[in-house]
Structures are given as C-alpha cells and as structure tokens.
C-alpha cells in the first residue's frame, strides 16, 4: 500500500498490468521495475518517481544474503557446530557416547564433519532464514566455536 500511494492510480494498463494495485504488488516482489510505469516518467509525477526510487532502493539494501563461512585452516573437526545447531538437534540418532549425526546427512542438517574438517551442507533450514520471530538472531555456531572458525555474515 505504501508503494501504491505514489503510483498515478489511473489504471492506464500501459505497463501490461490490469490495475495500478497489481503493479504495486509486483513491484514489491521485484518482478517489475519502477521505469516500467511510463506515465511516472512524466514531469508532473517527478516527486512520486523520486520517492518510489528511494523506497525500492532502501528495501534492496536490506535484502542481503546470509553467508556462513567455515575457515578450514582453523577448524579441527570437533563438531561443536554440528551438535549445538538447534535445527537438527532432534534428528540425531543416539550412540554409546551421545547423539551423533547420521549418514546420509538429514535434510535439515547444516554442518557436517568430513575428513576432520567441518563443511557447510545447506543453509535453507538455518534459524536465521527459516523461522519467524525471535529465533532469527541465532548465532550459536559462531559463539561456541573454540577456534573462531565459523563466521556469520551478510553479503
């Protein structure tokens, strides 16, 4: 609705969309660009055009991609990141000396220790992406790594 306010609201269909409302929705999802709306480029909508550019630009700045770096030179394969990660905690099969990861790795498993070094399997189930709300600020793998090999970053 924020974006709709600054559109011409004429439903001219020049952009190929039936209404200005649907254009605003597509704009939010990144399917179309601001320049696709040709009437906006006219001089009388100059203010709205600048405002829209600013809004879209600032939202693009926020959407940075999560990246977890594992430094293989520092890592000694202790597997603390595998155990401490809350995502795959309940999938571990128990052994004589505690819970252990399985082979082939669970689809939820983020980390895996292979040949004495930790490696990242996938990121799609990470708490920082998957869950809504308070779990988003999860940093346990980075905090508890004794050798500071795991680094969480947004690129």
């Amino acid at each position: 609705m924020e974006l709709y306010k600054f559109l011409p609201k004429t439903n001219c269909k020049k952009c190929g969309k039936p209404t200005c409302m649907s254009f605003a929705l597509d704009l939010l999802q990144g399917k179309v660009k601001v320049d696709d709306c040709t009437p906006l480029l006219e001089s009388k909508y100059k203010k709205d055009y600048d405002k829209l550019k600013e809004l879209i630009g600032s939202e693009e700045g926020k959407e940075k991609e999560l990246k977890i770096d594992v430094d293989t030179d520092l890592c000694d394969g202790c597997g603390i990141c595998v155990t401490v990660c809350p995502v795959n905690a309940r999938y571990c099969p128990p052994t004589l000396s505690g819970k252990a990861p399985d082979y082939p790795p669970e689809k939820h498993q983020l980390f895996q220790v292979k040949s004495g070094k930790c490696e990242l399997l996938n990121l799609e189930h990470c708490r920082r992406i998957e869950a809504e709300g308070r779990e988003r600020e999860c940093r346990v793998c980075e905090t508890y790594c004794p050798r500071d090999a795991v680094k969480i970053d947004y690129v």
Binding site: G79, L96, S97, P101, T143, Y144, R147
Partner: protein, 434 residues
C-alpha cells in the same frame, strides 16, 4: 561400498559415532571424526608408516625379513639380564597381557606411559579414594564441568562436544543448562566455548595448591578466604567457585596435564582429591566426580590389565619369573642406568622424556615395535612394524572414563605385518625355544 559406524582409536575418548565408507581395501570417506581421528585413519597408507622390519647395521637402518629381525631381537634379549619394557599405551589389552607375560619370562621390568601421566592420580587415589564417573553419565546428568589445567578443546577435540554441548536425557537443553569453569594460567582455546554463565579463572602459574587449600579451609570454616584473594583470583570469584562446587547436582572435574607437574614437597593431586571428598561429604544434593584426561587411547587399560593379572597397576619388576616388590619406576630405572636393553612398544619415549634420560635410553640396545616413524624410530636398533589396532585388527581398549570398549577391524593389514599381540607371542615362543 560398506557404510558402518566404527570406533575411532585416535585418542582416549574412543568416539563410537564415526562413520566410515570403505570398500574393504581403502577408507573412502570418514565422517564425524576430528583431525586427530583423521590422522589415525590416514596412518594406514601414510608416508611415515613403517612397512618393513629394519635393523641398524653400521649406523644405517636396513630392510630385513621379519625372521631376521626377530632372531636378532631375541639374541639381544637373551644376553641381557635386566631388560626394560616400556610403552603399551597405544596397543590393545590383549597385547598388554602378552607384554606382561614376556616380561615375566625374561625377568624384566615393565612399565606403561601411565606412570608419567594420569597413573599418578590413580596412585594417589589409593590413599584418598576417588569418585569416578562415565561419559554417558556426564551427557545425561552433569550440570557442572570444570577443566582444571586442561585444554580439552585442543587436546581431545570432541570431548567438549560430547560432554558440554550434547543433549542428554535429563539435560535436554544441552549447553544452556551446563556450567563450565576453566581454571588455567594461560588463555587457551577452551576459553572460546565460554557462555555468559560460565566462570573463567586465570590462575597464577604453579599456584593451584594455594587455591585448593583455601577452598578446603573455606569448606570447613566459612570466612577464611583472604581479602586480597588467592593466586591471582579475587574473593568474589572464589566464593562463586565454591558455591558452584557445593551446589552442583552432578559435577565433574577434568584433571589435565597442568595439575600433574611433579613437585618434591607437595602433592597437588592428593589435595584436590581430598577437596572432592570434603565437598562430597559436605553437600547433600549431589556429588563431584573426577575424569582423568590422558592422550593415548589405551593408557587406562594397562593399569587394569596389570592390576587384574599381577595385583599391581604399574612398575612391575620380575625376578625368577615372579613379581618382586620394588619402589622403582621407569624414570629412576633409566636415571640409574639400571638396564641393559629396552623394548619399546607403540610409544615415543625419546621425544617424551627429557634429553638426559633419552640419551641414557638410546645408549643401550633399543627394540621398537611400532607402526610409524617417530623420534625413537630414528635411533632404534631393531624396528618391527605392527598393524594398527582399531583399523587393521581388533582388540579391547579402555576409554578415558575406564569403560572397556571393543575395537573393531575395518581393513586387512599388509601381508607381512603382524598384530602387536602376534609379535609378542612370537617373541615368547622364540625365547622358549632358544
């Protein structure tokens, strides 16, 4: 391609959750093992592995057949009156049993690595008593872990993973419910796993004894902590430490190498064990127990084997094929040069011992039974290669918490290489025939 769970013999923790994918000839994939375990599994085809029996001729090691090496070794042992057997911490319990048998038949002196490591704690425990625990109990019940003079994060990498971070039956939340206290003069990697509730105590070097004495006094009579604190730790931290010790439901103290420094006048380990006893009698809620951190995977085994067979856990001296009483250890034996040949089994004393002891040790004929090159292998007179226990042959080993675990076999050893047990058996037979 077979995928199975195996027991790693890389260190004394004997992790049983390692996954190996193998075709029976090589190990293709190793999952879950730390760097130490990986090195152990890589040993199978490593550059520094010994594949042939070697004999020193004119200062150089020469490849010979196993028979020739055995004959020469038997010749040396036969002509000696005071042979020395040492090592036995990286072999299976069966081989340790054979080692004691060999020492008995040749009237030798046998000792294991445990004497310069955690054997001291067991010796002291004969006077004071000791409360032991197991890894499984720590996982399921422990709420306080104390690393005293131990850098577990680097020496036994998976220990903290298993004890501190694991989610046990009564400790479902894992790390959040467990408190960690690290007492160490140096800021080691183990300080890196500290959370907000944990206590880091950077003690002054060699002042552990003062700290233990103050804690003992405070246990008996409150208000005996000095205003200025002890050994670089202030009063509030000491009070917090004692509160943790007496308030814990199931606490564990990991004794590391830092506490075992030999001192002539005082015995730090004895005082610590007395403190544990005192705390256990004082508190009603729970208990404190001890875990001894040793490096080699079957160091605890020799104590158990020797104790069950001979009634003494270390430093066994035989005379007329009978055990005789002696107060000597491997150190005093080498210092007095009270030996005329030595058999080293899966150990590297030349790099472990101080230089003056090493020099005395290599002055006499040295027979080495090992699977890899080490400082000792460069100076040994006879080297006999052996199979790697836990990978190329099975056997019993005692874990860090004195729980026996059966190691399995994954690959076949190279055709000319025998197991430790078989080699010692050949020694015994050859000596009988000679």
């Amino acid at each position: 391609m077979v995928t199975k769970r195996v027991i790693c013999s890389g260190c004394s923790l004997l992790c049983d959750d390692i996954i190996v994918r193998s075709d029976g000839l090589y190990i293709d994939e190793l999952l879950g093992a730390c760097l130490k375990g990986k090195e152990r599994f890589d040993q199978v085809s490593a550059k520094n592995r010994i594949f042939n029996s070697l004999i020193r001729k004119n200062g150089d090691l020469e490849k010979v057949s196993f028979k020739e090496a055995l004959d020469k070794a038997v010749n040396i042992i036969k002509n000696s009156s005071k042979p020395l057997l040492y090592g036995f911490s990286t072999v299976s319990c069966e081989a340790q049993l054979k080692g004691i048998e060999l020492a008995k038949s040749i009237n030798g002196f046998i000792d294991s690595n445990s004497i310069i490591c955690q054997g001291k704690v067991l010796n002291t425990a004969k006077e004071t008593g000791i409360t032991l625990t197991t890894i499984t109990e720590i996982i399921n019940k422990a709420d306080l872990l104390i690393l005293w003079g131990a850098n577990a994060a680097e020496s036994i990498p998976r220990l903290l993973n298993k004890t501190l971070f694991s989610r046990g039956k009564f400790r479902m939340t894992g790390r959040e419910i467990k408190t960690l206290i690290v007492i160490d003069p140096v800021k080691t990697a183990s300080f890196g796993v500290m959370g907000v509730r944990d206590v880091a105590l950077q003690i002054e070097m060699g002042k552990d004894i003062d700290l233990i004495r103050v804690l003992k006094e405070e246990c008996c009579k409150t208000g005996s902590i000095p205003e200025t604190g002890v050994a670089g730790i202030d009063r509030d931290d000491l009070k917090r430490l004692l509160l943790h010790l007496t308030g814990t439901e199931n606490g564990v103290i990991f004794i590391g190498q830092g506490l075992l420094r030999p001192r002539k006048d005082i015995n730090t380990v004895k005082e610590l064990l007395e403190l544990v006893q005192l705390v256990n009698t004082k508190q009603q809620k729970g208990r404190l127990s001890i875990i001894m951190l040793g490096g080699h995977y079957n160091m605890a085994g020799f104590d158990h084997v020797a104790l069950s067979v001979m009634g003494k856990n270390h430093s066994l001296q035989f005379s007329d094929n009978q055990l005789v009483d002696t107060s000597e250890t491997i150190i005093s034996k080498i210092e007095k040069e009270d030996f005329d040949c030595s058999i080293i089994m899966g150990s590297d004393p030349v790099s472990h011992f101080p230089t003056q002891l090493s020099k005395k040790l290599i002055g006499k004929p040295l027979i080495l039974i090992d699977n890899k090159q080490s400082a000792t292998s460069y100076v040994a007179d006879i080297i006999i290669p052996s199979a790697i226990t836990g990978i190329e042959c099975g056997g019993l080993a005692y874990r860090i918490d004195h729980v026996p675990i059966e190691l399995g076999k994954i690959l076949n050893p190279p055709s000319n290489i025998l197991t430790d047990e078989a080699i010692l058996n050949k020694f015994i037979q050859a000596l009988k025939e000679a």
